[in-house]
Symmetry: C2
Subunit: 679 residues, 2 copies
């Protein structure tokens, strides 16, 4: 008796529903070479008669149509073998989302994805496959492409649905390259790349006794009762609901960000309840550059209850039968449910979001490396919080043997920091070495001082106290890390800057902010502390980050504070991180102005009394530093979007030359007087 | 008799029309302190009776409302004094274009610009002022803002027009933050931030006997007879033309790019002819980050003839009376007219575009520095073409005394290169010094080799031949330049990478591609050669760039070619620049695919016969290198858009993880066989 047969026999002892899910997972592990298990699964599903559906959340490589198509073919073939009615893929299945401007500059990609769609259609039989693709627009007016899905069956394309609502905000740029659909619901197959008018054909797909209303991603995000205000005039889901579908389907590619899961759950539950319809949501999984998609595809019943949910951050085909109650709810990151109805206030209790944050970044690192062809990372280990957290994340994403930590002490580096770096590397099992930068620093400093003396003969305004020595250290370290990346194959250096410090421009160009990837660029410092503690508690190997790293107050050890004679602490140069992070939160989440913040009580103020002068000083410093950090934001390496809002240039666009903005504003009387002065 | 009076007397000897333009220019030089000249000008304009119009092309600082408002107030006051009927400002006058996501994150900017608008309205008298601003949307559906203009007169807002067509492609992102207007033409003043329905009020503004139809920028770029295909379903200009305006006005912010002037001229001429109406186009001038606006505001008569055009790349109030034939056509960059109807083919004759290219970059550098508060630049002078061209551009944009050229020879640097660098600096009158990098190189190399030996104990895949030595040189130089920027106030280091080399990733991260600004990142190598020659011929000081710099074949002098024993030439590492630049051109302008290029005859092939194997090798290398250069594009410093299309991340968006795209594609039969293999 084979090992596989034994496993199948074990599974057959479980309750019937558990058999289905265990067999499905077993087959996923074994690949298609498990005909025995497939046969068992088919027999278990057969009695349901109709309504068996597969939610295929795949992790595509952007633009790699062959790679993505192989997944599609594999899942369609499997779905056919186990007798599903329909298998549903995420938005833009064949090319991945977001495809962006590539399709304008390289239209061959669109040609290719249509060829692949047609060939994939030919292998379909009884099981319908709902597959996303880019379609050409026939009309001479408008953009050149639709974001479409095709329903494939019996060797042909059966019908086509196009996306109506095109998100164009934050990380979304759909309006740059897609035309909105002129019609909601299905259109006949002869309209492929040829939609010259709206045909009066059924809007819904009828598949084995059930009627399906299909939409694409943003199409389900405009319920005007749920969202006030809302963004678009049409609600495609409401339009389809008028046709009395049994099941509403949404093919999606929706990134995970703070608070997004809660919003999504409440919204989808509301929609299914409002229309008294089953709602099936199939989401892309995996990361594309800065965007991490969490999968977690799901099904709601007509009462708005969640009846099935796929895994998070993992490719999976989830089998459901929402008509007959077949479903399984795989767990979300713990803590998320807790915050479903939490009011939007600033808090230092990050606990409910830490597992999601961790998994979002892990997937972000892993997929960026895999999809760009890298497998190893090198980073500087300072013994501080930022580099320590990055090291843990890299070890978990890439495996410890693929991570090299380099301690690069200068004369300002304390023994404690050196020891912390070494201990961390030991705990993680990553590679470690030390490379002092003293010699480099001395020679570079000498060369620079000679050069400065030359320059000073021609130029005024030499700073009495400059950041040159600090920056030589940071840049020498980057020089070493990039050197390793040049010398050893498949290796990227890591930028360890965090979000709080990037807001303040407290990061060195060509130094610590340079790298092939920036894992924590969207994590504020106070959240990093919480994440460090969470990882110490929740990883298999406990307390990988030495307690002393978390306990000490952050400082770059690049300069001495003349007041204390000790290395300058970051908070001395900036302001308390609890205060700084709340300013960031209020701007990003509440769009508060300078004066609104001045007149609000901060969490920090509840605990420590600060006088108005101090608060004004910090706020002034915040806006001044933020205004001159825009250039640094513009050259930030790829990172992972984690927070609800960010400074990532793909998510937030602000011209660098806007540094003169007066964020305080003036009142009418002041403006009037200024104008009078000019006249 | 004062100097000013003497000048006025001189002017009064000119023909009447010349008097108007000379006085206007004199007043611009003198500011408002020229009541004598203003009085003369008013007397000259009075007999025209009605139809005197001012086109006020201003150079705003983004978001600096006070700065921009001062210009508006100054020009309105002047227009009133000389008795103009109306003065017209560019799109988004008060904040500058493009304002981007700032208004979502910092809504106070919108509040402020409305306060300023209201206060400015109060100072208006007889002269109407058409002023662009950001307006709040009342509706609960849609985006939160309109892109609007207000017509101000007699102390009040007289009416409001909102932008209908929102460009969202290339450097334009309007759909991210603006709602399209629900109505074309004027709406009454009580709709300010309060447009709850469309009012049945006159669509046109009647100002001193004439009817004006007003649109904003993209609103005039959708004539379906001129553009086939076209982008939007509505043509706001056509709608307004139905109301029989005397004058169509367009408040614009339209960047200059290769071939844009020709397109714009032909289109505006076509529109005015088609609708048999005067067309007044007022364009923003100056650069905002990567985007350079050329001004060149203009007027066409109802026969489509250009009757007035303001200066290019310069702030100006141009006075016209299109009814009575008053106008002056200031010259464009020479050469542009020539190419009005040139077919779209690749050519190495860049001549017609070189003056525009030069001025676009000069303005781009000057405004970036000014608007971010910098005034000095430091760059490495290698004696090569790229750094030499950059030095000239910087000297002209910032003045020679504000530019520091540093020659940083390594052991590979030839005496010729060192001499060329020095001679160039002398010719330009910029500051110059030498800083050999030998000591730095040696110490860094030693530190790196020690570190590599450590790393090699744990990691395989150390390259036998790596780029480490090349990169140490490039990064040492950047270390010196950034050091100067840290040590001396108001100074930015310059990235000298060109477009051809950026396409090929032939640029060092944290090395030559790092800097505060990248002046020639959108200029291909063959065009740089032409630009160098053009500057040598057309600048006041001739032949600033030594002939030997232009004559020699480019090479970075970072490595030795083992085949020749001499420093490796760029074309040996890449491919001939003539071929490379044509590939870039065909992709950007014609969206050609690999196979289309393989089957086309290149210009290069007309002159030199190359066999198919060679062509395939070059094309393969091109796509391979381009695919792995996307990361470098993403961290490119701010540059200036010059070409019709670019790789600037604000103009072209492609995810980095798309490096697996198969740009060759497959035919149906191949796809079919691949799928069959999977099953």
């Amino acid at each position: 008796m084979s090992d596989l047969s034994r496993k199948i026999d074990e599974i057959k002892k479980l309750p019937e529903k558990e058999q289905i899910y265990s067999l499905n997972e077993l087959i996923a592990q074994e690949g298609v070479d498990a005909p025995e298990a497939i046969k068992e699964l088919k027999q278990l599903l057969a009695p349901y008669g109709y309504g068996n559906i597969g939610l295929a959340q795949i992790n595509p490589i952007l633009g790699d149509i062959k790679y993505n198509a192989q997944k599609v073919v594999k899942y369609i073939s499997y779905a056919e073998k186990i007798g599903l009615d329909v298998i549903i893929f995420p938005e833009l299945t064949l090319v991945g989302y977001p495809i962006e401007d590539i399709i304008d500059r390289h239209p061959i990609i669109v040609e290719e994805n249509i060829k692949w769609l047609n060939e994939i259609a030919k292998i379909t039989k009884q099981t319908r496959a709902i597959v996303g693709f880019i379609e050409k627009v026939k009309s001479q007016t408008g953009r050149r492409y639709y974001n479409s899905v095709a329903i494939l069956a019996e060797g042909k394309i059966e019908s086509i649905v196009r996306k109506t609502l095109l998100p164009t905000y934050s990380e979304f740029y759909d309006s740059r390259y897609f035309e909105p659909s002129p019609v909601i619901g299905n259109q006949p197959p002869e309209t492929l790349c040829n939609l010259d008018k709206v045909y009066d054909s059924p809007k819904l797909s009828t598949i084995n006794k059930l009627k399906y209303g299909i939409t694409i991603c943003e199409d389900c995000w405009n319920n005007s009762d749920f969202f006030v205000p809302n963004l678009y005039k049409v609600d495609p889901v409401k339009e389809l609901a008028k046709e009395f579908p049994d099941i509403l389907v949404n093919c999606s590619a929706s990134p995970t960000r703070t608070k997004k899961e809660q919003l999504k759950h409440n919204m989808l539950s509301y929609i299914s309840r409002q229309h008294k319809t089953i709602f099936i949501y199939v989401n892309q999984v995996g990361a594309i550059d800065n965007i991490s998609f969490d999968g977690s595809s799901r099904v709601y019943n007509p009462r708005g209850e969640l009846i099935a949910r796929a895994k998070s951050f993992e490719e999976q085909l989830l089998i459901v039968n929402p008509i007959k109650g077949l479903g399984k709810i795989y767990p979300l990151a713990s803590g998320l449910e807790k915050t479903l109805r939490e009011p939007k206030i600033f808090t230092l209790d990050y606990e409910p979001d830490l597992e999601r944050t961790y998994k979002t970044i892990i997937q972000g690192i892993r997929d960026y490396f895999k999809k760009t062809g890298f497998r190893r990372a090198v980073l500087g280990l300072s013994g501080g919080l930022d580099s320590s957290v990055c090291a843990v994340l890299l070890a978990d994403a890439l495996l410890p043997q693929n991570v090299f930590g380099v301690s690069m002490p200068s004369k300002l580096t304390s023994d404690e920091s050196k020891n912390d770096a070494k201990e961390l590397a030991n705990n993680l099992g990553i590679n470690f070495t030390q490379a002092p930068i003293k010699n480099m620093y001395d020679v570079i400093n000498t060369s620079l001082q000679e050069l400065f003396d030359q320059v000073e003969q021609k130029w005024d305004n030499r700073y009495k106290k400059s950041f040159t020595p600090d920056n030589i250290q940071a840049r020498s370290r980057a020089m070493l890390l990039w050197g390793i990346s040049n010398e050893f194959g498949s290796c990227l250096p890591i930028a360890t800057s965090d979000k709080s410090e990037l807001y303040m421009g407290y990061a060195t160009i060509n130094g610590d902010m340079s790298g092939g990837f920036a894992p924590i660029a969207d994590v504020t410092k106070t959240k990093l502390f919480a994440l460090a503690r969470w990882m110490n508690k929740n990883r298999d190997i406990k307390n990988a980050i030495p307690e002393s790293v978390i306990a000490k107050r952050p400082g770059a050890e690049l300069a001495i504070n003349p007041k204390t004679g000790k290395p300058l602490l970051a908070e001395e140069a900036l302001m308390p991180y609890e205060f700084l992070d709340e300013v960031i939160w209020r701007i990003e989440n509440k769009h508060e102005s300078y004066n609104e913040m001045l007149n609000s009580q901060f969490l920090y103020e509840k605990e420590k009394s600060i006088d108005l002068t101090q608060k004004i000083e910090w706020l002034d410093k915040f806006y001044r530093r933020m205004s001159t950090s825009l250039y640094k934001w513009s050259i930030l390496p790829p990172s992972v979007l984690v927070d609800a809002r960010s400074i990532n240039k793909n998510d937030y666009r602000q011209p660098i030359t806007s540094s003169h903005i007066d964020y305080k504003g003036l009142v009418e009387e002041e403006i009037k007087n200024i104008i009078a002065d000019w006249l």
